[in-house]
Amino acid sequence: MSTTDADLQHGHGTPVLELRGVTKAYGGTPVLRGIDLAIHEHRAVVLIGASGSGKSTLLRVADLLEELDDGDVLVDGEVVTEPGVRPLETRRKLGMVFQSFNLFPHLTVLENIVLAPVKAHGMARADAEEHARTLLSRFGLAGREGEYPDRLSGGQQQRVAIVRALATRPRALLLDEITSALDPLLVGEVLEVVRELKREGMTMVITTHEMHFAREVADEICFLHEGQIVERGAPDQLFVDPQRDETKRFLQRLLEAQRP
């Protein structure tokens, strides 16, 4: 077996991030059951699936925040899940943004952003701060450098979290339901940031329940069901003409839930 779905669809070059046969169980309950996924440079893959299908776990395993049971994770073609390899280097190459922002409440916006570049990447503080200011003003956060996170709205906090992840110049961004904890009025401003990143060609893996948005930014949609990717394809294909019954049912339920 040498050709995967990913190869067939956009097949050349080494993927920035790749999962091969990844399995993961929590206390005997399988959560990921053989995940194969490849994300090529400048592409955005959106993971959809019911609550508990394993989306967050997949991202956490990819960022080596959780240890996998079997299979491999590769970054730029290198296996990073060999027992001897330290996860630190991999985490430095990937950026992650969480549903609940997870900004550091005791640090100002600027300190939140420059902490990792300075401490983990050895960047000079002045350079890191300059880069941070550039990013902040690009995402409409100029003048917020000195504020503490609890003084910002949820949308602003999440944009700061995205800037914080970008500040380390990651090879790829992993975004885990970054708008789920937001007031509906603030979802737009955060999604706009992701659109902008997409236009710039940032490589991304995104989990979301916002189907319109998924359709808009995704190069590929993967439908996760009980720890397996049961269907994948271009947004126009998967949303319009899903092949599997599970996918159809999921999309149907989602449609009903989102109808006013």
């Binding site: 985490r91 401490k119 709205s153």
Partner: protein
């Protein structure tokens, strides 16, 4: 979970002060001020009545004249106060030195207990035993055992001064408590904070140092200050192994004079330090409660 605030911070609705005549706002503010004045007056009168009543009961009791002579003797007070105050300086110095030791050793014990490194297992076991033992034995007993026991061992390298040995006992005893305070603070930092830090590429130790510990320490400052107050008082325990500090001096004077007023002088001195500390804790806790309410309401 934080609720996002739909209103952006900084976009204060501009409060415009219109000129001429008391506005509704001013009338309300005035009423509020009057109410506050009345409340203060009521509180004051109540305090006078209660305290005055208590004083009357004590002062008219049949034993009061002899109690006054034994405990509140003005001449005894002025005679011995300077001595006791001199001894109290030693209390303060001992307190500061021991407290610094407690803060460092307590943190070290807490860090040893939370590490998962297998190599550190023996150390972790040791720390657990240390904490169990020194929390489990009455402090006064520890001061006795260390203050008299360690010098009696006559081992070279070990201190022989009862003050140092007793001080070490106090330090160990309080470190055991304080390490648990630190640990509860560390446990109270949400695991997502750790995840976020690791995801940014910080190492475990960097995460501890820059993300977890600063938040943990901030949270435990009020309980730490409470332990400070307790330690400040317990320095007097060193008097029993012969350290001539305020309590011991007062005790000697009291025995010589058959009068307890010097002890009262010592008590007053302790209060001079512990009461401001207690108020400090109050202020901190109030400020924190206010901040939490603000965060919760946002």
């Amino acid at each position: 979970m934080m609720r996002p605030d739909p209103q952006r911070a900084g976009e204060d609705p501009a409060g415009d002060a219109s000129a001429g005549g008391p506005t509704r706002q001013e009338v309300r503010a005035d009423a509020k001020r009057r109410r506050a004045t009345r409340d203060r007056l009521v509180a004051f009168v109540a305090a006078v009545v209660v305290l005055g009543g208590l004083a009357a009961v004590v002062l008219t009791s049949p034993g009061w004249p002899s109690v006054k002579e034994l405990f509140f003797n003005r001449q005894q007070f002025s005679e011995h106060f300077p001595d006791v105050l001199g001894g109290f300086w030693l209390d303060i110095k001992l307190f500061v030195v021991i407290e610094i030791g407690v803060l460092l050793l307590g943190l070290l014990l807490a860090l040893i207990r939370i590490t998962r490194l297998p190599v550190l297992f023996p150390l972790r076991l040791l720390a657990t035993v240390f904490i169990d033992v020194f929390r489990g034995v009455p402090t006064v007993l520890l001061v006795y055992l260390f203050g008299f026991g360690i010098p009696a061992l006559e081992l070279s390298g070990l201190p022989t001064d009862p003050m140092i040995c007793g001080g070490i006992a106090l330090c160990f005893s309080y470190s055991a408590y304080v390490s648990e305070v630190y640990r509860s603070g560390i446990d109270s930092v949400h695991p997502a904070q750790r995840s976020a830090s690791l995801a940014l590429g910080l190492s475990e130790s960097q995460t501890l140092r820059h993300v977890v510990l600063p938040q943990a320490v901030r949270r435990v400052i009020p309980p730490l200050l409470n332990d400070f107050i307790a330690l400040q008082k317990d320095v007097a325990l060193l008097g029993i192994v012969g350290v001539i500090e305020a309590f011991r001096l007062a005790q000697i004077a009291a025995a010589e004079q058959f009068n307890y007023t010097p002890l009262l002088a010592a008590a007053l001195l302790y209060l001079c330090v512990t009461i401001p500390m207690a108020r400090g804790v109050d202020v901190l806790q109030k400020r924190r409660a206010r901040r939490q309410n603000a965060a919760g309401a946002a």
